[in-house]
Symmetry: C2
Subunit: 307 residues, 2 copies
């Protein structure tokens, strides 16, 4: 349908940020790790359980002031199916607290397979007489390299179940320009992907003017953020790269429209590892995460007008 559900939560919390839950087991305070290793051994299950405790504690401390979380699939897959089980549980827990959940999977494939991914992450799987949500996130990041027929199955589920997708346009990493900055008839690839987002979303635009198809645009490229914000009026931006990757708050202003909407900025490690940076008692890790969330919100909203 659109990203209205997310945008309403952003307005409600006056906070256009999302907390990335990309947990390495090393990020989890030692007392939790030791506890889980004692119960399950130094196994994938033990590590996964430690991460689940860590995630839930952070969610408990931030759900009232942050609209969304973004778990990154890779970090859960590192722990095999036990990790993927914790991805499911983390999504379910955050949703039970009223948060909007974007699974960062950057999935992509041909149409038939993309239907499977769409059902897996946003929709339902039919087993006999039952329809079951496998992961049940609210949004999924995807890669548009395969063109329209890899996106259409997602659009159907967005329409039916009020979900959204974010398509990679200009990614935050150093080498993103190797392909993305190359020009096709004078237009860089990232802008062509952006134009596709406008097209794909054109039938599902919500009350704030943004469709169900967003784009990923890195905080590390403020010039492209500005350029794409002007070029893509109906495309909500998911902006990674703030903080740890080097993108500053002042450069983010151009990602937002005049109402202070149009973008949601991600921070992962700085929130998860706030307790390490603060050098506080590790038992205080979730409260340190909350303090970092507030710091980030104030840092970013200082440059935009959300009234």
């Amino acid at each position: 349908m659109s990203f209205d559900r997310l945008i309403k939560k952003i307005i409600e919390t006056k906070n256009p940020t999302v907390v990335g839950l990309d947990p390495l087991v090393e990020y989890v305070p030692e007392y939790i790790r030791n506890d889980c290793f004692a119960k399950y051994g130094e196994t994938l299950e033990g590590a996964a359980e430690a991460i689940l405790v860590f995630n839930k504690s952070i969610i408990d401390e931030i759900y009232d002031i942050v609209p969304a979380i973004k778990p990154q699939a890779a970090y859960y897959e590192m722990l095999g199916y036990q990790g993927v089980r914790v991805l499911e549980e983390t999504i379910r827990y955050a949703k039970s607290k009223g948060m909007f959940v974007m699974t960062d999977g950057k999935r992509n494939d041909i149409g038939a397979t993309m239907t499977a991914y769409a059902k897996a992450h946003l929709g339902e799987t039919v087993v006999g007489g039952n329809s079951i949500e496998a992961f049940g996130a609210d949004a999924l990041t995807v890669n548009g390299y395969l063109g329209t027929d890899g996106i259409e199955p997602l659009l159907e589920i967005c329409e039916k179940k009020d979900k959204g997708i974010f398509v990679l346009a200009k990614t935050s990493n150093k080498s993103s320009g190797e392909l993305q900055d190359q020009k096709i008839d004078g237009t860089p690839v990232y802008a062509i992907m952006g134009d596709m987002c406008e097209k794909w979303g054109s039938q599902q635009i919500g009350e704030y003017g943004y469709s169900c198809v967003g784009a990923v645009v890195g905080a590390t490229y403020p010039e492209q953020l500005n350029e794409l914000r002007e070029r893509l009026p109906h495309t909500l931006f998911l902006v990674p790269g703030y903080g740890a990757q080097g993108g500053g708050a002042e450069g983010l202003a151009g990602a937002f429209d005049s109402r202070g909407l149009g973008a949601i900025v991600n921070s992962s490690r700085a929130v998860m590892c706030a307790y390490k940076k603060e050098e506080c008692d590790e038992k205080d890790f979730a409260k340190a995460a909350r303090r970092e969330v507030i710091r980030m919100r104030d840092d970013i909203t200082a440059y935009i007008n959300m009234d």
Copy 2:
């Protein structure tokens, strides 16, 4: 290191094909489904168990005549973590039978996250004092839209653990040309991605002349197969789209070099659902899969010279 391990198995079996295990629960014969639903209910677990029985039976019937399987992650993710558990078990089972396993995940991300995917699917995860293989496939399909720093973590693990990757170049789907056929300074995007494969693989070339970095090029585009085979002498091709998607065997000849090497052709549905097409007893599904594998091998090798 290179794709030598795979190429040796291709030569050994005189069969340059791979069986895609992309199982929808509807593909599984009813007697297996009923049995698993009776045990586990019409649940994700029940469906996943049915697929595991199905996969193992097919592997048992084909491992001596096919070098590799290619499970497609999406179809396992559809069944939540229970499905992902069956992906793990399928990989482990095929490897125990001596098969080469390529996980089709089309993963992609920035460097730090790609390190997590590389460890998850090809390498090992460290938990306390243990190093554990989460999925342990031999190769992984990936998407190169993010450029070199999303590929480097994979190259490291390829080197260390003798693994390989296949990067999307020209995909088999209808809309693949929307971006992939666009030209940058006269060169189509699929060829630019192909050139990157040559560059990324240049330090890890094996005894047959192929590196650890392959490319995905669809059977549905025989002209591009020919063009890329000439352009990319060190890049092994994974060729989807034969059969169900409409790519014929005669069009595949150009994917191979003069020794009959250089490509491996995938077939998924035609093998998994051979018993439906044959209309044989459903209990004969695995033997029907074997018959289709032989038919496919003979169909394709008729056009190439493997001696």
